[in-house]
């Protein structure tokens, strides 16, 4: 709303630290509305921070070992934390108490490395265990159960299958539409599974990479960046995946990256990366042991390196870009959460009414009759002015419309991008319909209760 008043130029990437929250956090994620940050800590608890008041408003205590990942449901009502204590806990933030009520607990038989919600339905969950297995857990009554996602062994390898150990799955993410699950393996391939049928629909070997460490998607789901142990971030344009068929055919294709991002000087590895909401910028958090560095690359400008943000001496652990605006959250190994923003210089001209700032001198050309006094009486001129003013004021004003656009702006951006990426194939909607069945209670417009706190709350 106020973007037009603040800065007429498009907002680009953050440049400076706006604030630092002392939290003890290892991982941090913005919620989809961008108003809260969920921070997972190494003592097993998680905290929800309100960015308006810069205070922690909820404590999610339940795990006994450190939290390995946090995820938000699409309207920010549910938060899921996964932990080394073999559990995933889903918290309901609409509950009026602090700590909030646990909505569900899912137990596995190995430490959970990451867990994420399906983008359309928070009752479908993807979990990755430390043993290299990935599961889709469905909490809906009709589909209840957990299914392991298994890589289809390569053809012609049936004999060698037993001797060759299956490659471990090292990272797992839903794509933005939720139709597919992307899994990275220790042998450097990207496997694509259909969420509904749990069958593999593609295997992409990426040459030159070691172990896949992380993924991020551009919002429309057409582009993927991968982080791997060869310290390079690669960006790929994803092919269109056909819906799964009865023969369980899958694509076997090697993907060529469109861009490679790395640190040419120090060859530092990357901890995490995150796209900007419009997909034009990529932020990479460097695993530099001495300083806190975030590299920003300009995708729209052919992937050129744009800037390296320096966050001080505490090394970085995690990075996440704000879902709607030019802001980044990063965590340090001391547990501090840094919020980065694009600082706007104060426009002192705004304090005087009627002042407009211009960049260059504007030469004013007066009209021929601009300062003429209308011949005849002065009151004729006045009444003409009044008439002109009245006519201007007769124009209709709209005091109601336009609100939905603003509020749903974020949703509209996502939907627009999502639909651009979706195939216009009626069959593909089957996956979306399957996901929408038995929807969760995560509806827009739920409110987080403001809980009064006495005194100054530390953590």
């Amino acid at each position: 709303m106020n973007a037009s008043l603040l800065n007429p130029f498009t907002i680009t990437h953050p440049t400076a630290v706006q604030t630092s929250l002392v939290s003890g956090a290892s991982f941090a994620r913005f919620d989809p509305s961008g108003k809260y940050v969920a921070a997972g800590r190494s003592d097993g608890s998680a905290a929800i921070w309100d960015l308006d008041t810069r205070a922690a408003i909820r404590w999610l205590e339940g795990h006994v070992k450190s939290v390995t990942s946090v995820d938000w449901s699409r309207n920010s009502r549910y938060v899921m934390t996964s932990s080394k204590d073999w559990n995933i806990i889903i918290w309901d933030l609409a509950s009026p108490t602090d700590p909030p009520q646990r909505h569900a607990t899912i137990r596995f038989d190995a430490p959970v490395v990451s867990a994420s919600f399906h983008p359309r339905n928070s009752r479908i969950i993807l979990a990755l265990l430390g043993t290299g297995e990935a599961y889709i857990v469905d909490l809906r009554k009709d589909y209840r159960g957990r299914v392991e996602l298994c890589e289809v062994p390569e053809e012609g390898d049936d004999d060698a299958q037993a001797s060759r150990s299956r490659s471990l799955m090292t990272t797992a993410r839903f794509d933005p539409s939720g139709k597919h699950v992307f899994i990275g393996t220790s042998s450097g391939s990207v496997l694509v599974f259909n969420t509904r049928t749990k069958t593999m629909v593609a295997r992409h070997k990426i040459s030159g990479t070691g172990v896949m460490k992380g993924f991020d998607f551009a919002k429309n789901g057409r582009r993927l960046v991968t982080n791997s142990s060869d310290r390079t971030i690669r960006q790929f344009n994803l092919p269109v995946y056909l819906p799964p068929n009865a023969e369980r055919e899958y694509i076997e294709q090697e993907l060529e990256p469109t861009h490679r991002f790395n640190d040419p000087i120090n060859k530092t590895a990357w901890h995490a990366m995150s796209f900007s909401p419009d997909g034009e910028w990529l932020a990479g958090g460097a695993a530099d042991p001495a300083t806190h560095k975030i590299y920003i690359w300009d995708i729209s400008n052919d992937g050129q390196f744009a800037s390296a943000l320096d966050g001080g001496r505490e090394p970085l652990i995690d990075v996440h870009w704000h879902p709607l605006k030019s802001s980044i959250v990063s965590t340090t190994n001391q547990g501090n959460i840094l919020i980065w923003h694009c600082p706007t210089p104060e426009r002192w001209g705004a304090f005087a009414g009627g002042f407009e700032e211009v960049d260059e001198n504007v030469v004013y050309e007066e009209r021929e009759d601009e300062f003429d006094i209308v011949s005849g009486a002065w009151c004729l001129y006045e009444s003409e002015l009044a008439l002109r003013k009245k006519r201007q004021e007769d124009e209709k004003v709209d005091i109601i419309g336009g609100i939905l656009e603003d509020r749903d702006l974020g949703q509209a951006v996502h939907a627009h991008n999502g639909h651009n990426g979706l195939i216009g194939n009626c069959e593909s909607d089957e996956d979306l319909e399957w996901a929408d069945e038995e929807p969760d209670n995560d509806k827009k417009g739920w409110r987080m209760k403001i809980i009064m706190v006495d005194g100054d709350d530390g953590f």
Binding site: M1, N2, S4, L5, L6, K35, D50, D52, T53, R54, A55, I57, T344, E346, R347, A350, F351, A352, G353, G354, Q392, E393, D394, E395, K396, V397, D398, I399, I400, G401, G402, I403, D406, R407, R447, M448, K449, I450, I451, M452, V453, G455, D456, D457
Partner: protein, 293 residues
């Protein structure tokens, strides 16, 4: 013992009123029965505001404090101290985690509701601040003061984004955003109401006919059954104009003193108005034809 402010709760079931007798009273909006009285301020109260969930009321008083009342526990839960002079106006943001207030110390303060602490102090004006409020998504704050200026601030950074000033700068007594936050309605003590498009600093509508020369009279939009602008007046009448044509459509007579407080119901065609010493009544004006049977 004038009644200074009236506000309907967000769901429309309750009406809250504040007065110079240091009390906040809650009434049933449909029957007019009194439900509760909150006591706690040591001086008269200037303004009240509801949180968006209808659970909390904030009241601003001449004792320089703002007290947050919880309807759930029926008691005061927080006292916000910080202003150095009378607090004149108060409002919640749509998320209700922030409160904005303005006072006779010429500053606008933004408060963290949960912890009861002042987060920002904006050096907003050079005269007492008469009205402050947030826009519909909580990103902007508008404030007006007796120096005649209307200023729009960025809620997150506290920077001033715009100043609206008319030629004469009459004392500005009330300002609020339109429901879609594209316009601000400003009441000034030259008996005029103006609707400003603050993006290009143009006044797009003017409403006259009432009297406003001395007191801070509130003005409201009424959008439940058509688009109207409603204002109180110092001649004891409530004026209703058509928003687009600026025509004075109706004058509600009944009060016997200056109308200091006005509120429009969020969903039904009900207007509540209240007045000063000579007439300590709160009147509810209904549109009979629109009441569901």
């Amino acid at each position: 013992m004038a009644i200074s402010s009236l506000k309907f709760s967000p769901d429309g079931s309750l009406l809250a009123s504040s007065a110079a007798d240091k009390l906040v009273k809650l009434w049933d909006a449909y029957t007019g029965e009194i439900i509760k009285t909150f006591q706690g301020h040591s001086e008269g109260i200037n303004d009240i505001a509801w949180s968006s969930d209808g659970e909390y009321l904030a009241s601003a008083s001449d004792d320089k404090n703002i007290i947050l009342w919880s309807l759930e526990v029926n008691a005061a839960v927080k006292t916000l101290k910080g202003h150095t002079n009378f607090v004149f106006c108060v409002n919640y943001n749509p998320q209700s985690n922030l409160l904005v207030s303005g006072g006779y110390d010429e500053t606008v303060r933004v408060w963290d509701v949960a912890r009861g602490k002042s987060m920002k102090v904006l050096p907003a004006h050079s005269d007492p601040v008469t009205a402050v409020s947030f826009n519909h998504d909580g990103t902007l704050i508008v404030s007006c003061a007796m120096d005649g200026l209307i200023r729009i601030w960025d809620a997150e950074s506290g920077q001033c984004l715009k100043t609206l000033v008319d030629d004469d700068n009459p004392i500005c007594s009330h300002v609020k955003f339109s429901p879609n936050s594209r316009f601000v309605l400003a009441a000034t003590q030259d008996s005029t109401l103006r609707l400003w498009n603050y993006q290009n600093s143009r006044c797009v509508k003017t409403y006259t006919g009432h009297t406003n020369r001395t007191y801070c009279l509130p003005a409201c939009f009424s959008t439940t059954n058509g688009q109207f602008v409603v204002s109180g007046s110092e001649d004891a009448k409530v004026y209703i104009w058509d928003l687009q044509s600026r025509e004075l459509l109706q004058v509600l007579e009944g009060h016997r003193d200056v109308i200091l407080a006005l509120a429009t119901h969020p969903t039904r065609n009900i207007i509540a108005s209240a007045s000063m010493e000579k007439d300590l009544t709160i009147r509810l004006w209904l549109d009979e034809s629109s009441i569901p049977t």
